[in-house]
Symmetry: C4
Subunit: 511 residues, 4 copies
Amino acid sequence: MGLVTYKQLAEHNNSGSCWIAVGGTVYDVTQFIHTHPGGAKIILKEAGKDATSAFEAVHSVELLPRFDETVKPVGTLDKSSERLDSNDSSTAEADAAALRRAGMPSLGSVLNSFDFEAIARQTMKPEAWAYYSSGAEDEITLRENHAAFHRIALKPRVLVNVSHIDTSTTFLKQTRVSLPVYITACALGKLGHPDGETVLTRAAGARNVVQMMPTLASCSLDDMLNARVDSQDTWFQLYVNADRNVTRDVVLKAEARGCKGLFVTVDAPQLGRREKDMRLKYQEDISDIIVKTGGDEEGESSTSTGQKKVNRAMGAARAISSFIDPSLSWKDIEWLQTVTRMPIVLKGVQTGADAVQAAKLGLAGVVVSNHGGRQLDTCRSGIEILPEVVADLKRAGLHGKMEIYVDGGFRRGSDVFKAIALGATGVGIGRPSLYAMSTFGQEGVERLLDIFREELEMVMGLMGCTKISDITEDMVDASHLSTRVSLVRDMLHQTVYEPLQPPQFNRSSKL
Amino acid sequence: MGLVTYKQLAEHNNSGSCWIAVGGTVYDVTQFIHTHPGGAKIILKEAGKDATSAFEAVHSVELLPRFDETVKPVGTLDKSSERLDSNDSSTAEADAAALRRAGMPSLGSVLNSFDFEAIARQTMKPEAWAYYSSGAEDEITLRENHAAFHRIALKPRVLVNVSHIDTSTTFLKQTRVSLPVYITACALGKLGHPDGETVLTRAAGARNVVQMMPTLASCSLDDMLNARVDSQDTWFQLYVNADRNVTRDVVLKAEARGCKGLFVTVDAPQLGRREKDMRLKYQEDISDIIVKTGGDEEGESSTSTGQKKVNRAMGAARAISSFIDPSLSWKDIEWLQTVTRMPIVLKGVQTGADAVQAAKLGLAGVVVSNHGGRQLDTCRSGIEILPEVVADLKRAGLHGKMEIYVDGGFRRGSDVFKAIALGATGVGIGRPSLYAMSTFGQEGVERLLDIFREELEMVMGLMGCTKISDITEDMVDASHLSTRVSLVRDMLHQTVYEPLQPPQFNRSSKL
Amino acid sequence: MGLVTYKQLAEHNNSGSCWIAVGGTVYDVTQFIHTHPGGAKIILKEAGKDATSAFEAVHSVELLPRFDETVKPVGTLDKSSERLDSNDSSTAEADAAALRRAGMPSLGSVLNSFDFEAIARQTMKPEAWAYYSSGAEDEITLRENHAAFHRIALKPRVLVNVSHIDTSTTFLKQTRVSLPVYITACALGKLGHPDGETVLTRAAGARNVVQMMPTLASCSLDDMLNARVDSQDTWFQLYVNADRNVTRDVVLKAEARGCKGLFVTVDAPQLGRREKDMRLKYQEDISDIIVKTGGDEEGESSTSTGQKKVNRAMGAARAISSFIDPSLSWKDIEWLQTVTRMPIVLKGVQTGADAVQAAKLGLAGVVVSNHGGRQLDTCRSGIEILPEVVADLKRAGLHGKMEIYVDGGFRRGSDVFKAIALGATGVGIGRPSLYAMSTFGQEGVERLLDIFREELEMVMGLMGCTKISDITEDMVDASHLSTRVSLVRDMLHQTVYEPLQPPQFNRSSKL
Amino acid sequence: MGLVTYKQLAEHNNSGSCWIAVGGTVYDVTQFIHTHPGGAKIILKEAGKDATSAFEAVHSVELLPRFDETVKPVGTLDKSSERLDSNDSSTAEADAAALRRAGMPSLGSVLNSFDFEAIARQTMKPEAWAYYSSGAEDEITLRENHAAFHRIALKPRVLVNVSHIDTSTTFLKQTRVSLPVYITACALGKLGHPDGETVLTRAAGARNVVQMMPTLASCSLDDMLNARVDSQDTWFQLYVNADRNVTRDVVLKAEARGCKGLFVTVDAPQLGRREKDMRLKYQEDISDIIVKTGGDEEGESSTSTGQKKVNRAMGAARAISSFIDPSLSWKDIEWLQTVTRMPIVLKGVQTGADAVQAAKLGLAGVVVSNHGGRQLDTCRSGIEILPEVVADLKRAGLHGKMEIYVDGGFRRGSDVFKAIALGATGVGIGRPSLYAMSTFGQEGVERLLDIFREELEMVMGLMGCTKISDITEDMVDASHLSTRVSLVRDMLHQTVYEPLQPPQFNRSSKL
């Protein structure tokens, strides 16, 4: 491949002939722009330019040539050639970022996990904030996830010697962790921080908690694994690909490189409608592309009315959805059991019946989760489902055969305590770790974990518990989980939350 | 009839002698103004003018000579004669409409059914908005209708192959539809769109859903039926007239022209108090007309106190109420069974007891409905009543003998899913279709139906259902429908809703 | 008694020698100012002046000489003598009143009972508004009174011939009324309208409903009785005086002049803390008077700590409280049975147990009431207590032996319907009648009653009821009265309500 | 010790050599600044100055030399020496205080306990307000404490002679009090008033109620005891020190000086996170001090991750926490029984089980309390726990063997009534007494107690009770305490409450 100058590159800046440079290589993506899951416009914005930083913001560089067979390298970018001022936009973005961070509170002022969210909301790039913070449709379940904890009351015991409190526990019978908390898998870490998911890996290592590494990370799996400290256990989260060979390869690689658990996402046969994300994307002018399409691309089936239009501008969420296979079923789980010796855990179980089925298959566990309220709106919170799962497993004589994890809405040490009391082995933290990462980087994530530990220690002390196994069901009044009646209204969480809005009028437009 | 010039017409511009031109004919309505259900003032505003557009906004032109025997044609309008500038008001209205629509968001920005409502609220004529959006009295039931869905939680199953999802179903054992959704009957479509209900007919045809055609349409029944595409099934909604012969004629006509179901409205022996509508009408200065009247006109009986005053300015709702007969009873239903072979469905049933009675009569179905919260305030939502209806029919051994439809507050695909899970065959959509029509016309209504389909497909996929018959009762937790305790507070619906207000002071008036 | 000129009167304008003229007579009230239940300051404002209008605003003129033996007439006011400009304040008040009423909406714009309240709030004298609108302490019960109706859902029946609807009923087995609604007793009618309670008498006569005439009316009993139309039945509300002879006299007079029922208030052994009223009075500068007092005046007992201070500035409510006897007990009721043949009804019963006791005594009825939320805060609403009363009477075999009335928070025809369905014979309307009177006088009260009738007729028609006896318990779902969970949040009522405020800082004051 | 001039003192104004003068003595605190529980910065602000007033704001002067063995007196302050203008800050503080109190409402305008809070919020020093008003974490329990009372409805009985009402009762079988209310122990009284807790002592004496004297008072125990009037009974609240000899000494002293009860705090093995307090402290710039520390200082244990950082700037609350021993257990209670003959009461019991344990040990009572919502968030209110405690004691056959006190959220006389009805002997008042003290001093506290008495008298009268023993369980409907459903929303309490906020951006900072 020959050298391509910036000037030559710039000549292919349209849908007729579209080149982009990524990681020093120039690619012809003319055909690919029409099949790009994220839509054509987002590529055309970068046409004729060095798109490395834009690309890396959401993908690992190594991914590009694998994206599609139509993507063809045409040469090596001649970085010594004369640059055009095409990267004005990145300067403008840097200015905007500085403006957003002006006067930002220091890490020392952060008292709780909500503070990270409040700061992130004001300092993150709008599209990153929209992708991380959005939930499905009316965001009922998104908010319910945290609200449910205010329906559980603590019943503290007094006069217990709590001079020494130990928050450590064991996950999947093999990993000793400092806290019954892990960092759960979230996609597109580079939206929030240039180093992406490796920030989380390093913070998890520093604080001796487990990170669950995502399939849809913006860093490569190798980058994340290489960021581990010695003896740091991690898990791998799996989206099963339509091509099972791709899945087999990645699972075997994860196991070979020492991952200690395989968490198979089972609640995302297709992606949910995250309208805050969609709204923003539309406003950013990439939504006018309504293309005709047939069939079942992106998991959308055709209907009996025949032809249909599909709005491609579904936000960052939809851009990654083609990696997901809607045909995933219990048979695939059995197949995975033949592929790997890693303990297999189903991520996204929402009924006692499915947990029982998992236990019957001899799986290592389930994560009771509604995917952070991002998939199906008006479903129950993980913490509300937890007692049903425990009860059904007991009824089936399978309680204790399998570990139960839970995520969704955990924001306080007391939330963690409540989940343990109701039968969970561990608790996944998602958005708070992203907000901490996006605002203060690794130091922020470490502080977040410290806050969880400090709060949990304090709660344990005030509850009369000195170790995790002291935490028992009779220490909480969870009778209101099912009646849906809360203690008094939460205010801080509500203050930090950004409400949904209908589309806005552009009243300055001329008549 | 001779020609009447604009100048001659303009001379009869008062209550002493009142002429109006409609559809090219000039009528003397001097006597009619005092018996007009909508009040005299609304006619006097048009006195001496060509009132065609004002008339068509609420009525079909062919209706006028049939309104009342006192309405007499006096000539043909000479359109070549010199126009007076009496139609300034329509120019002003056009300007106002343009102003309201300035900067209006595009159809592409509409993500959900609420967005149509948000845009309609800002762009519709105030009186049209007031008529469509208003509910009875405190609008408790109006809001309860949607709020009730947030008391039902979804319980998704995982690891089901959902590659192919089919949302189609069959209505009244004969009509295959693309969705378990129909467009329900709403009066006065021309308030929102110049083409009125035919817009809905065409959109229904394009998307293969059923439209229920209203008795009180502003288009004629023929107009609507002519707007059908080949093989498009439609239903006819019936308000039974005090003159049963009128009713017999219209029913026979509907059947002859191929309507596939007769939906008899049974919840409107008189019209409810829609105060948002009344408030606006009053402010528009047509309410000072307090006329003395005796008897039971408009369904209002005299009281033991004898004489009374009736405020005629009850908004658009009251203007059409005289077509409704308060004496309608079960005997009339039995009579209708002798008149037509169309399947008969009762629209507006709110108790299990009445549903059982309908089943005993061998009717084809009931629509569990509170008339969109427009009739009786503080009654229950359709979705809350549905389980009572199913339980009572089961108890009576009549479950399955009759189809159950439901309407009121359906705004999301998940709402539709919940109704199916609780035993409904189909779901009626009212206001959303009017808002879509009023903002974006036929294209808007088609997009609305697409949104319902897309959302329902997504919910089915995430719930582990591939076809309508996969949707079962155990997939929802409806235990809170009866306890009235919701998941977290809905915010988007509440943002879009326009709260009621007391009458306003005119503080700029002089002392 | 000789003539007293305005100039002579004006010389006695201080606490050393204090004369006031009322109704043409000049009184020396020097001694009385220190024992006036409403405090000294309110009298001293009128010292040396013709206080007739100020006095009549709260009292009947005939009352003054009977107030206290220390009040002595000293002469007749010489109205031909030269006036001083001491009545500037009344001119200012007239200006303020005009300002408040500027741009006031017309009676025609009033659609419901809340509208009267909204207009009254802006147009009434602040002290009158404070006295009428205030409730006890946090006004929890005040608001609960109406809110409770939103916990009762209506279950309408369809296909009933409702061409003719009759809202009339019979009270106390003798009085045929047009509506199951009466105007209940409220004190100090002249605060809202110069003609006071006689306005209500006339409106009640015009609409054939019963007025309950208050002991603490600002008109005399004779004035009210003389305002009746022929054959107009009225009731008398009784506060039992510490001097039982006074009580005997007024009861015998009421009976002699044709009152058809004696409603004995039993929920006011002392008056509640109405802080909105107290707050206003304080701000009006009459609250600095903290006088030392012993004993049990105004129903306040001394405590074991001995001496205490009593704040006399307790608002209009406290000014009338000395007419009330805290020793009232069941024995007094038995005594009243020997005094009169009028049916005796206990007003203010709040438990089933007390209703049973009343029935055992053979009384004619009870009014289930919490005194409009003005006495004890956080007690239950009348409508919530009603089912307990019915159940306890049934259990005691006494149901049907006695009539049950209820008041508190009735604002809609549907509220009345619900009370009838739950077992009430009639419903008392308090504040709405005062607000209607204060804003539009007799015409306003008549319109209010018309609104109640129109709404009740409409509800009956939509529920499938043609007469009061058709209204049955199974037509309402009252299961949530006891669970306290409402339908969706009421908005109109909440908009009209004026929230309580803490005392305000005067930040304009100098440092 | 020689004389030290202001100038000499001022030379030791840094962390290298740090002197402060307190009470006329100059101390070298150079070593102490690094171990000061409140952090170094707060001392360094006073370095080289006469810190008496700053010190006395939180401590008793006599405490300083006892704080730490490293604190060494170096001389006597020569008050005749030339003053430097180092006390500008106290002048500025005085100006700020005057500004805050400008236009402050008079005591006469205070109608209820909320009014004191509303005025305190605006007039107190921000750090004092933050310390007093803050609760744990999201302040759910803080607000729940009062909200719970609105779930209890009163059921008044009528026709009881209530001419004479007696609110007096007996505490711990020995102390006759005017009210079933006591002033509970709160730390740091001098933050609110220069005379600190002695203000409360004097007011309690004047109104014949009991004060519970705190271990962590800012006045010395002697100061408080000396402020008693003759025959005034008081209690002593005990934080058990890690050094049991210190505890023995203070208990023996309290007993010797006539304290009538020993209330051992059992709900504070460590202090809760009061983030409002922490937020303020941080903003005041004393939070940058993050010091490395090992071990279990301040009750925080080390974790398995080894080294950790502790943020010392935890607000006033943490500054006093080192006096508290996390190892306190039931064995210590048994030891205390051997030390004193005072009745021992456990303060901070939150379960029936622990109350039963206390009764089994033969203790005199328990205080059902969550420490004013300052320790553990989302635990239940005292009033909600009370019925569980009564039921468990009855089940164990121990009811009546022990007295039950309760605190948390008591703001109205009706709240007190409800607690008595549910089985409490007395009720503790905390924050309201601090707010009354901080705004109006002793007179304010006396007025607060008068308001409680007036309200309780009124409630008793309206409920049909003439003495405390008339108050019975059947007079309240507490069925909603456990369902968590309230009467209508409280508004006044909510208006007065200051919501939590996330950290604020300093948007004026330069880019």
